[in-house]
Amino acid sequence: MSSLLLNPHKALFTASSSFPLRSDVNAQILVASRRAATRIVDCRPRASRDSFEAEALPETNAKKKNANRKIILFGSSPPPLSEDRSGAAGNGRGKPGSEASSWGFFQKALKRALAVLSNLPLAIAEMFTIAALMALGTVIDQGEAPDYYFQKYPEENPMFGFFTWRWVLNLGFDHMFTSPVFLGLLILLACSLMACTYTTQIPLVKVARRWSFKHSAEAIRRQDFADSLPKASVKDLGIILMGAGYEGMAGRFAPIGVHISMLLIMVGGTLSAAGSFHGSVTVPQGLNFVVGDTMNPNGFLSFPTQSFDTEVHVNRFYMDYYDSGEVSQFYSDLSLFSLDGKELMRKTIRVNDPLRFRGITIYQTDWGFSALQITKNGEGPFNLAMAPLQMNGEKKLFGTFLPTGDADSPNVKGISMLARDLQSIVLYDQEGKFAGVRRPSSKLPIDIDGTRIVIEDAIGSTGLDLKTDPGVPIVYAGFGALMLTTCISYFSHSQIWALQDGTTVVIGGKTNRAKLEFRDEVNGLLDEVPELVSIDQNLNG
């Protein structure tokens, strides 16, 4: 029976040994098959190809299994070709109907919701809206007091004719990125992602069922580009395609991977927003603090951990300078002690190189000038606290004042000292005239108005940021997955489906590329597939 079925194929295709390119070939095949149908009674005509395939399948299926082929074919009639037929819907029908109606109702509602959410135009609209809201969030100043918005977007003269402060404050645009509108849209996008992944892409993973998508040769021929290779085998084709860079299943998996990694990032981000601690502290050199005292919770999932009972000593804070005098780097030498005095860790941190300890990370973010240590006329040393002075621009300026007269009188005169960094101190006399510059390391004295001043030391203070963030590992995993899957999906953007149909391999291709180049390239590949001369052993075995 099998030989009878498959003989017509053999007879047909010995005639055409070349690999033609266009649809006239299909016409040729069709014509030939009609001739064959009249010769052999058992074959059905081409028109009802589906059922023909159904007949042929059990035998070929068995052979496929023996030959360990990749493609598994079904004995039942093929499902319709629409790709967005949800696996969930297909499975749902199989469920027994004897359940309670409420569960059934819930099921139906869920299916409806899934169908609505996995709609692509909806997802695109969501993405557009999120992008527009983000753009709005950069244009509108965030986090200001309501007064600011009253002035900037007044009701008397609304921007664009309608945009007043009511829009801003009621919709939460002043804290756009945590506002309910924005977060709601993000949640909606996440739901769409999950629905889309579940309904259209995960079914592809179920190889056994989903390969039957295109198992009908007719279906494959209806692809954008289709061709048949008489006397060939899928294995050879697969090898050649692999060699040419067609990734096969990776092309299907990569978009799923992208969506899953985005969901992972979203989950991690939510965890970060809800469960992290953050603290900022400025500590003069030589002092210490306990971690737990500085930390503030960020959300409702924040739970302090055992490591909050650690004490941090700032052993030393110093800066490196370029030759031009600009700051090149900040360094803090930190030691971590447990509450009973045992040293747990010691590290010198700098910007871009934080300290990590049991889930807590300490970053070097800022610096300050704590005090200036001087001796006056040989007496001392005195610590004069340095105060930050407001100035336009980014450069910091610190100053202090050493009174030379009666410190309690209202018009007290004294020596002023200013510094931009820990390296050089500028001194001014009682009238405010420039007196000189001294470096703490030089220990050179300076005489101002009869007072001899020696700058002993400049004591800096380090600005540290402390954080715990439980979401970071998840987010990093999501980042890595996203990078990887984006790269993979860039490289595999065409799909080729091949079916072993007797002695013939039917190939269909779908691509995002231009048809011409894809056609040429695949034809070039197909030319390389070896033609098998003696197939009989495979088929009769």
Partner: protein, 329 residues
Amino acid sequence: MIFTILEHILTHISFSIISIVIMIYLMTFFVHESVGLPDSSEKGMIATFLSITGLLVSRWISSGHFPLSNLYESLIFLSCSLSIIHTIYKMGNHKNYLNTITASSTIFTQGFATSGLLTEMHQSVILVPALQSQWLMMHVSMMLLSYAALLCGSLFSVALLVITFRKNINIFCNGKVKNFLIKKFIFGKINYWNEKRSAYKNTSFLSFRNYYKYQLTQRLDYLSYRVISLGFTFLTIGILCGAVWANEAWGSYWSWDPKETWAFITWIIFAIYLHTRTSTNQSLQSTNSALVASMGFLIIWICYFGINLLGIGLHSYGSFTLTSKILNN
């Protein structure tokens, strides 16, 4: 010292060569019969690429850090990436009628960088502590490569839209395309939209001119898709590297900084582009996606330049004040 002189020379060489190349391309537009010139323009582009790369390398050596710390250097890098794309495209044996877009983009960025508007930034500067990190190389170079690729791709889409929607099309040939499209052709009272639809469906019934227009738009569509997907990959990697770097430096991988937000907006727009390409409605597919890509073109410029004009946020290294220079003059 020698490196500064070298840098100076290379800047001038690159600018002059690429101006000459653009002149050649413009001439081949208006004068169809130019045989020897396209070859020399190719060599000119390669020379430009080499001189821009040499410029960057000499800056790297003279300043001791990777040359990407302010706007001027990033513009030079951008024009370098554009010329890289041009060269790769050349080597790929594709028909090269789209090199006008890449070449002219290169000259515009190079010209703007070396123009008098930004002279205060030409000196190499020292790196502030926050920029002293290995991540600098990875993040910024990825972002600039992605900007270059996405700019090219969106320009191709703009070209596609222009070609699709113009009634009286005068398509100028460029060198080897001459055998594809001939002179100008004028459509009569036919409705172009219907014509395009029918054109896409029945290839064999197309008239001569429609067929070539169809070929050209298909080509542009394909190229734009390829280049934008490449740029999208780079953009993803660049944004994620930036997030990891921010976590290392400041403890927060995303802080809704204006530049970060606009980079994310760019990412979303191009993700929309890639998703619109999966729609099955063939006749609308290419135009819809081309519209999205053209929007992306504007958004990239806002992201790259517009935010720097504001000069706020964590990315203030790239800021510059254009108006003060003009006012002082």
